[in-house]
């Protein structure tokens, strides 16, 4: 195992290299560009054997991935913000055709006004597309999660595409020490892709065909059942990965929860800031629950972990405009629905469009919640 100090983008590219991907189709967009640039360089210099398809848009990138995956190729793409929005209709096609494509999304705010900095509105808005969504905290986790994503998605019990979401700039453009596992270790962990179905001229089949009202609902039901099976697969993939590398992952990360009366909840790199804040507050009554899998959403585990807690505060970088709260807050409330005694709940919108969320901001949230704040609030709003 070699340790290198690299950007999150490079960590993703190194993971794709380790996974021996067959086809990469990507279109550059800030702050994802360094992922596709690194992969293009790998392909051009023969460091990977993947075919790199230069496409004219993200719509085409996902279309090319769908076509490639349908022929039985292990496939990768990366995008961000407007690019993910441009892929939107194909996201449903990929998941509906049950193709185990893996994508990295460098989380970025959406226009208008034009903004290239980090928040999580892009992938959170794509939560109902039938993809697995993993939000990572560190560059190391970005590398590890891409590798695990192939193992989860390609499982024949599942066959659901995966999106690994890493915060733009905060991770993509920030250097961190990252352990890069040895190739033979990953070969052991991730066997070659065996497609459940593939296009073959000698034995033709039709993929992604037509379903009328008498069958369509059942396909959607099957998708839901398949993604439910991925709860166990995500946990198993994280545990198995831990055995090989010493880094174990799950659906949720529990931090200082044993005696916690107040639990902060967030996704992605913001968890690092929360951990720093909690370490300096040094108060065992305050803990963190980091949501790693946003889809499938681990409702039952959230309910189990929060049912005896006094206060819950969600801090997130997205807003459902019109509802006035973030999607994660809605999911947490829905997870706790019907409990005899519910914790008091607060949801905070923070860091939209790349505004810094500082340890002081987190400490401010804690203070507010301690004083009994409930409902929705904004952090750092001018």
């Amino acid at each position: 195992m070699a340790t290198d100090v690299i950007h999150g983008s490079k960590a993703v590219a190194e993971a794709v290299k380790l996974c021996d991907v067959d086809v990469i189709a990507a279109y550059p967009i800030t702050p994802q560009t360094r992922i596709s640039e690194s992969l293009a360089k790998f392909a051009a210099t023969g460091a990977i054997r993947a075919e790199y398809i230069k496409v004219e848009s993200e719509h085409s990138a996902m279309s090319a991935c769908i076509g490639a995956s349908a022929t039985g190729a292990r496939t990768f793409t990366a995008t961000s913000s407007q690019g993910l929005a441009y892929m939107f209709e194909l996201l449903f096609v990929a998941s509906g055709m049950r193709l185990p494509i893996v994508m990295a999304n460098a989380n970025r705010a959406l226009s208008a006004p034009l903004n290239i900095w980090n928040d999580q509105q892009d992938s959170v808005s794509a939560r109902d597309c039938g993809w697995i969504q993993i939000y990572v905290e560190t560059n190391q986790e970005a590398l590890d999660s891409v590798i695990q994503a192939y193992r989860i998605s390609e499982n024949h019990e599942i066959l659901i595409p995966s999106m690994v979401c890493l915060d733009g700039y905060v991770l993509t453009h920030t250097m961190e020490p990252v352990d890069i596992p040895e190739q033979d270790l990953i070969e052991k962990y991730l066997p070659p892709f065996k497609p459940a179905l593939s296009l073959d001229p000698d034995s033709p089949i039709t993929l992604g065909a037509f379903a009328n009202p008498s069958t369509y609902m059942e396909f959607r039901y099957e998708q839901q059942k398949a993604i439910e099976r991925s709860f166990k697969a995500i946990e198993a993939a994280g545990k198995e990965y831990g055995k090989l590398t010493g880094r174990e992952y799950g659906l949720l990360e529990e931090y200082n929860l044993d005696d916690a009366e107040i639990v902060l909840i967030t996704m992605g790199s913001l968890a690092g800031t929360v951990k720093e804040t909690l370490a300096s507050l040094n108060d065992r009554r305050i803990g963190l629950l980091r949501v790693r899998a946003f889809r499938p959403f681990p409702k039952d585990d959230v309910r189990r972990l929060l049912k005896d807690v006094d206060k819950v505060a969600v801090i997130e970088k997205d807003i459902s405009v019109g509802l006035g709260e973030g999607a994660l807050f809605s999911e947490i409330k829905s997870s706790l629905y019907g409990l005899d005694s519910q914790p008091s709940m607060a949801g905070f919108i923070a860091g939209l469009g790349g505004r810094d969320v500082t340890p002081e901001d987190i400490a401010g949230v804690v203070k507010k919640v301690e004083k009994g704040f409930e409902g929705t609030g904004w952090v750092g709003l001018k």
Partner: protein, 85 residues
């Protein structure tokens, strides 16, 4: 039947969906003007122009009445006629 991702193993199943009912105008071929160039047969996106021994006809079970054959015919031998029921 619910198959994985909606795949269909038996090929040619689209022939079961008869699309002729979508039509508003139908092509009528005037063979006296036909020069057997095959343009209509080449351009028809639904393979609904039937060509046999220099004779042309239309497969009305699948022809959607798009009129491409009529537009492409160099001698104006194909007339689009309003369907009346």
């Amino acid at each position: 039947m619910v198959t994985l991702g909606g795949h269909i193993k038996e090929t040619g199943s689209t022939t079961k969906t008869k699309t002729g009912g979508w039509r508003t105008f139908k092509p009528v071929i005037h063979m006296d003007k036909c020069v057997d160039c095959g343009c209509c047969w080449i351009f028809c996106p639904d393979m609904s122009i039937l060509r046999k021994d220099g004779e042309y006809s239309v497969d009305l079970e699948y022809c959607k009445g798009c009129g491409i054959c009529s537009r492409e015919c160099p001698t104006g031998a194909i007339e689009m006629v309003l369907e009346e029921k």
